[in-house]
């Protein structure tokens, strides 16, 4: 393998972190929904907002990696 592209490795690390973060949110939200199904719509909204914040940080990193790569 000639010329290993560091950008791709960086993108892999970024996506790993984001997937871990969003996965934990999903886990926590599902546990909370199972315990209190009556407020599941509120939990869902909060879950999406937090996931969107993580995604925002991820996209910053991806765009920086893409521009420098």
């Amino acid at each position: 393998m000639e010329g290993i592209n560091l950008t791709v490795i960086g993108l892999g690390i970024i996506v790993f972190g984001a997937a871990y973060g969003i996965g934990s949110i999903g886990k926590a939200a599902m546990e909370a929904m199972a315990r209190q199904p009556e407020i599941s719509s509120k939990i869902q909204t909060a879950m999406i907002v937090v996931a969107a914040l993580i995604e925002g940080a991820t996209l910053f990193a991806i765009v920086v990696a893409w521009l420098n790569g």
């Binding site: 909204t45 999406i48 907002v49 969107a52 925002g56 910053f60």
Partner: protein
């Protein structure tokens, strides 16, 4: 039945190997397929609306496309002509003493010979005229606006004729639950009281506009297929609207929290105030980037999966490639709605943070 399943499973695993062997044999005479170029061409803007390409009986490649109007304002002169006058970049068009050249789907000002100047990194140095052209993206956006106008004006007419409390019929059945969902579960949960209804027109428009544009971008043939909501200028404009909607209607309390947060020591304030001011801009910036990156990434994935066939020079990967494209395509239909929802939800959240009374 079980045996068939096993065979299909085995075949799915064998495909890459077969395809690779074929591509080794074919690569010697066939020209290399430019994946990046093809994808960039598809997700970028254009001055023609491409419909179909085929090879005719004499072995010539024929592109069928719809030329779109080019509108240029240069040296106080307005020029309107169809992009077919460029003949794909071969012909220059005179404009107020200078010449216009179409080069890599962008219009530049050149001299009479059509010289393009480059810097060391092969970027074009030629100046660009003020360009108000109806490009592929703009045409797609206008189409989305037209569709929205048709749907919502006809539904609104029915409401004014039959009354708002009547049993919904026809298109109403499709639109009413979505509008109610946006109102009750997105806007009213984030913005308090009567203020929610003030922002409803803006947020509903943004929701449906993004959704319609996302869906039009997913249609793979002629009137769709433009990457409108994956264009950063488009998402930038929407984010600027949200920025103004947030900050023009911000309460006194909201601005006090930013410029002089109460209840903390002065040295913390000095650190916090710049962060808060940067935060004013990062919120719409993240909105802009999120929509742009999600939609563009979706287009890139579908196109990449389709181009596996051409990269490997083999038709035996076609079933796998089409199957994977289909899965991603279905996912993109979900993403089209989800991104419209997230954009609206976050806009409502930011507006709510700004306008709500302090509890």
């Amino acid at each position: 039945m079980n045996a068939v399943k096993k065979l299909i499973f085995l075949w799915l695993f064998l495909i890459p190997v077969v395809a690779y062997a074929e591509s080794e044999a074919a690569a010697k005479d066939a020209p290399k397929f430019d994946v990046t170029g093809m994808i960039m061409h598809h997700i970028g803007d254009a001055y023609v609306f491409h419909m179909v390409s085929f090879t005719n009986g004499r072995g010539e490649k024929v592109h069928v496309s719809l030329p779109l109007p080019v509108i240029i304002w240069h040296r106080g002169q307005l020029q309107v002509f169809l992009s077919s006058r460029f003949e794909g970049g071969k012909t220059l068009v005179a404009a107020g003493g200078d010449y216009l050249k179409l080069y890599h789907e962008k219009v530049y000002l050149t001299d009479a010979e059509g010289t393009i100047h480059y810097d060391d990194a092969h970027n074009v140095l030629n100046a660009k005229p003020l360009n108000f052209s109806i490009t592929k993206n703009v045409a797609s956006m206008l189409l989305a606006s037209l569709l929205m106008a048709m749907v919502f004006i006809s539904v609104a007419r029915v409401y004014s004729r039959r009354g708002g409390l009547s049993v919904p019929k026809g298109l109403q059945l499709l639109v009413e639950p979505i509008v109610l969902y946006v109102r009750d579960d997105i806007v009213r949960t984030q913005i308090d009281g009567h203020k929610a209804d003030r922002f409803m027109p803006f947020l509903l428009t943004i929701f449906f506009f993004i959704w319609f544009n996302n869906l039009l971008g997913l249609i793979p043939f002629f009137p769709g297929g433009a990457n409108m909501s994956g264009n950063i200028s488009f998402t930038f404009t929407l984010a600027v609207f949200t920025f103004f909607a947030t900050n023009l209607f911000g309460s006194r309390h909201y601005y006090k929290e930013i410029f002089w947060p109460p209840g903390i020591p002065i040295y913390v304030k000095l650190i916090l105030i710049p962060i808060e001011i940067i935060g004013l801009f990062t919120k719409p910036f993240a909105l802009m980037l999120r929509l742009f990156a999600n939609i563009t990434a979706g287009h890139i994935i579908v196109l990449s999966l389709a181009s596996i066939i051409f990269v490997l020079h083999s038709i035996s990967v076609a079933p796998l490639s089409i199957f994977l494209s289909l899965i991603i395509y279905s996912l993109e239909f979900l993403v089209a709605l989800l991104q419209a929802y997230i954009f609206t939800l976050l806009s409502a959240l930011f507006i709510g943070l700004a306008v709500n009374e302090h509890h």
